[in-house]
Assembly symmetry: C2
Homo-oligomer: 238 residues x 2
């Protein structure tokens, strides 16, 4: 046998290539506007060959979403070193980079996913698959936050503050995507400050939350994001 110039891809390799191509298209346009023909053309293969690897657009969309979810979860990983404010700022920076990269796809997903044409049971399954992937990312973000705070089991008020702040981060990113009228870096820092502010508000009426706030501020250097917030608030008040 001679060495062929065009090597044939293995099944798994081809699947991964199609997921990459689909993720790229689903990110640049609303998933509703991406057809199997678009994906086949971008991958340089025929439409029937796409169907050979994926039964339809829905399963390809789910595979792409799964890859994006795994990628986002990986971006949450931050060494447990240094003050919390700086760690959180690193994570916010990577979160916004992800949102920036997958813009239209991220918006469409968070606004209810693609309005797909499908028969009843497949549609139900798709809705629950999509919701489960989103919940999984949120849960991962929540667990990372707890781990950085060094808390194994969160009391109700801490759980509420962390989970509602995660939703604040999502909505802040979505609003930013709609026109990008505020510099991204400003919002990354703002979300770090928002977290401290929400903890502080809850700490005004709960001793456990006050302990959390003290633990956060304890390691904060004079030039860290939380110290910066306190300095700015003080000068605003005077």
């Amino acid at each position: 046998m001679t060495t062929g110039v065009r090597r044939r891809m293995g099944v798994e390799e081809r699947r991964q290539q199609l997921i990459s191509v689909a993720l790229d298209l689903f990110s640049r346009r609303s998933p509703d506007e991406v057809s199997i023909d678009d994906i086949a053309a971008a991958a340089g293969i025929s439409r029937p060959l796409v169907y050979h690897y994926f039964p339809g657009k829905l399963s390809l969309y789910e595979a792409a979403l799964r890859r994006a979810s795994e990628e986002l979860k990986a971006r949450f990983t931050e060494p447990h070193e240094g003050p919390l404010g700086a760690r959180l700022l690193h994570v916010m920076h990577r979160f916004f980079a992800h949102v920036d990269e997958y813009g239209p796809g991220f918006s469409a997903l968070m606004r209810g996913g693609p309005a797909v044409s499908a028969t009843g049971s497949r549609e139900k399954e798709h809705v629950s698959t999509t919701n489960a992937l989103i919940d999984d990312v949120r849960q991962s973000a929540y667990e990372q936050m707890l781990a950085h705070l060094g808390i194994a089991e969160a009391p109700p008020r801490l759980e509420l503050v962390i989970r509602s702040w995660i939703s604040l981060a999502e909505s802040t990113a979505l609003i930013w995507l709609d026109g990008r009228r505020i510099p991204r870096e400003e919002l990354e820092l703002q979300l770090v400050h928002d977290f401290a502010a929400l903890v502080a508000v809850s700490a005004t009426r709960d001793e456990g939350m006050a302990d959390v706030l003290r633990a956060i501020l304890k390691d904060e250097p004079a030039d860290g994001p939380f110290a910066e917030l306190i300095g700015r608030l003080t000068s605003l008040a005077s």
Copy 2:
């Protein structure tokens, strides 16, 4: 003709009765767990008669959701009198009363709506109807906030703070519904404080937002919610 004991309802009256019955059922259980038979039984009429007024569960669900949306929007209405903190607290109280009343239905809706069995185009239409109703309520909340602040056209940072705070209120209510482990009244006040805190964070780097913060605090009485927050934060810091 004699006076009948059982009067027959007119078409619109019957429709409204069915919407009330459906809304009650969709509120107490996840909409997925409510059947047309349940609605017919609760209304005391036959299943075919329900279909005479509504083509299916989906359109009855949409009508019930429309009624709940109108009700919630009406609850946002608050006289433009007195300090902002007190007004906002009244609105939060009525918002949580709504969430309390429509608990499981509110949760199901905000977590992606019922996973309905339907053919493609009707499903698409349903998803967009549901999303449009939710967006309409959010937009109404946003406009009410701007009106209370006396601002006709919001600059980007103010728009972001108000809209992301509205999503914080939604997620706070959803997390509260899941187990109700924190007193409702505490969260109503917390969300008022959260709003002030988010405005303050944004005000640390934008002069326009600092003006908004000053305008909010200007009319605040010594026993108002915002003054309470500042007092508590000060004692926490000492």
